[in-house]
Symmetry: C2
Subunit: 355 residues, 2 copies
Amino acid sequence: MPGEDKQRRATIHDVARAAGVSAATVSKVLRGVASVRSENAQRVREAVRELDYRMDPLAAGLRHEQRRIIGAVVPDLESPFFGALVTGLERAAEEAGYHMIVASSRESEERESDLVARMADWRVAGTILVPVRSERGEGATRMRELGMQAVLVDRASADDDFDTVTADNSEASAKVADLLIGQGHRHILLHGATRISKAVRTRLDGFTERAQTLDPQVRIDTLLSDDDPETQRGAVRTYFDGHTGAERPTAVFSLSQHSTLLVLSELRRRGLRIPQDVELVGFDDADWMQTTWPSITAVAQPVAAMAERAVSVLLERIEGGNKGAPTSHLEPCTMLVRESAGQMNDPSRQYERGG
Amino acid sequence: MPGEDKQRRATIHDVARAAGVSAATVSKVLRGVASVRSENAQRVREAVRELDYRMDPLAAGLRHEQRRIIGAVVPDLESPFFGALVTGLERAAEEAGYHMIVASSRESEERESDLVARMADWRVAGTILVPVRSERGEGATRMRELGMQAVLVDRASADDDFDTVTADNSEASAKVADLLIGQGHRHILLHGATRISKAVRTRLDGFTERAQTLDPQVRIDTLLSDDDPETQRGAVRTYFDGHTGAERPTAVFSLSQHSTLLVLSELRRRGLRIPQDVELVGFDDADWMQTTWPSITAVAQPVAAMAERAVSVLLERIEGGNKGAPTSHLEPCTMLVRESAGQMNDPSRQYERGG
DNA sequence: CATGGAGAGTAAACCGATTTATTTCTCGAT
DNA sequence: ATCGAGAAATAAATCGGTTTACTCTCCATG
């Protein structure tokens, strides 16, 4: 059974003794400081190999103000989007020689604030926060109070205190407006599964603004329900109950993956055909969307680019002496036009569906 | 800008000074040790509030052999299944007063071994490992060498060194066999998106054994492709190219979520109707499966139960003195019969489709 | 030849907690 | 008043590293 032959792990002092030098010298060798005779350095490296020595990363950072750790707080670990984001963050952080610790706020602002404080307890060098709400939420506020080094990702907009990295939600949503208005739609439903996320609000605004520029007459209904799944389902159902026949929108733009699934489910339940009766565009792509029938037109977020950017911006602050005003980065999205919307660009159909 | 008013955080000594007691006494109060005069305890608590003191959890554990941290290593953070698992693990660990650090091996055994060693560097109290391969993989081997305390989850079977917690893959797959054989299917394709995962192999064996018990004549094709997505897609395509007409299987059992998506995609591409031409059952449920059309019959894994069990088993080892032989826990799955298979239990159809 | 500066090495302090070993306090019994 | 036992408090050691401050050599320079 494991745990029985537990001879204590070798420490830096054991290595020092084995190599016949002091612990300070071993420390120098390990961190690549130059002023060590190559003969001694060699002996140290041998001792390390001999004893199977591995440094304790926590003890190593104890004397410093901050440790070589980057904290990450995301609202949710069950969604593939944040999963991919975290994977990217982890890779980038490790490449830079940092450890990464991840925690999920589970869409709770209170927990978010707790987790942020916990990151400070761990003396992380910096934190990457995907806020539950926005740069004005509890987590960001707490970080300001604690004077933490951080980057806000995804659900935030430009901020006076923190660098931000987001998908270009506004531009991508405007492109969706181009597509749908271009197809002749003049009555469109915007659906969001949460009203508090900054990203969702930006998508909504980006779409609305462009759509109204293209045609001031366009009718846009918005439905932002709260987080309880059943309430949301009910709200969608009620909406469609009240908008039948000529009142029914001819297209839906769902503002999150969750939202897309919800809308899809309700459209199916009512027997509405996609795209013939209603066209559907979703923000945030998922692997099933290209396989389901009809396949779903969606905006794909540049998750890898966001992760990489977030870490590089944070490292610049940490290692570059925290100088310069906070920056704000928008990473471009990609639109994947599939069967559920945008493929019938036959002009004749535009009149058919228009107004 | 944050980071400017960085007065150093209060330490336990600051609190001691403010309360007019020694650091040792503060430590006692903080950990709830009884032998402190209530008057002093009160003063300490006030000082803590006054100075906004928060303990450094890492320094706190420095003197102990192990720290109050549980490590988790999973093969993948982008899949909702492991995402949900990690969320559950995190919750359970925190409830027990442990911190949790998560890392993704990204389906690489080499990285898995590295991560396991890194967990040991962090002096975690215990580790929860979802192996890339199985209890014989590199991660588990490394843990044995290092004498670590650990629980193996999901892709493992009973082991001499470690407790294991898995879904009851065998029983659930047998139930799928009951369903498909009961529906009259006598030619079934089993598809897995990875051959090295222990869970996938167990599902395959569980199905095959039951199916052959029910009808020794049954024809079962198995297709376990390797991990490169394009290779897999090609393998499926080739299989169906070579099995048309009477040679085509009447049902497919896909052994993982990835696999389900892959098979679904290929069936659609060929214009095969589900379930009329081919029935489909997938192992591992996903939210889109009940919304897509046709909705997909799937085996839902008891992810919350697995997470909770894994942590409680690990804590029992850690805090219960590591006594008793390693245990092996099977959590029951649920079958969600939807449109893609199992709904046509009209006996007359059995003959139609049989043999 | 004295001086000084660079290079190499190390003892000891330090980081922020816990634990041990010891001292001090309290109070009742003799 | 004295003693002793147990409770409460604390100084100091400890964990495993890093950093500081100091020593010691060696060699070039005035």
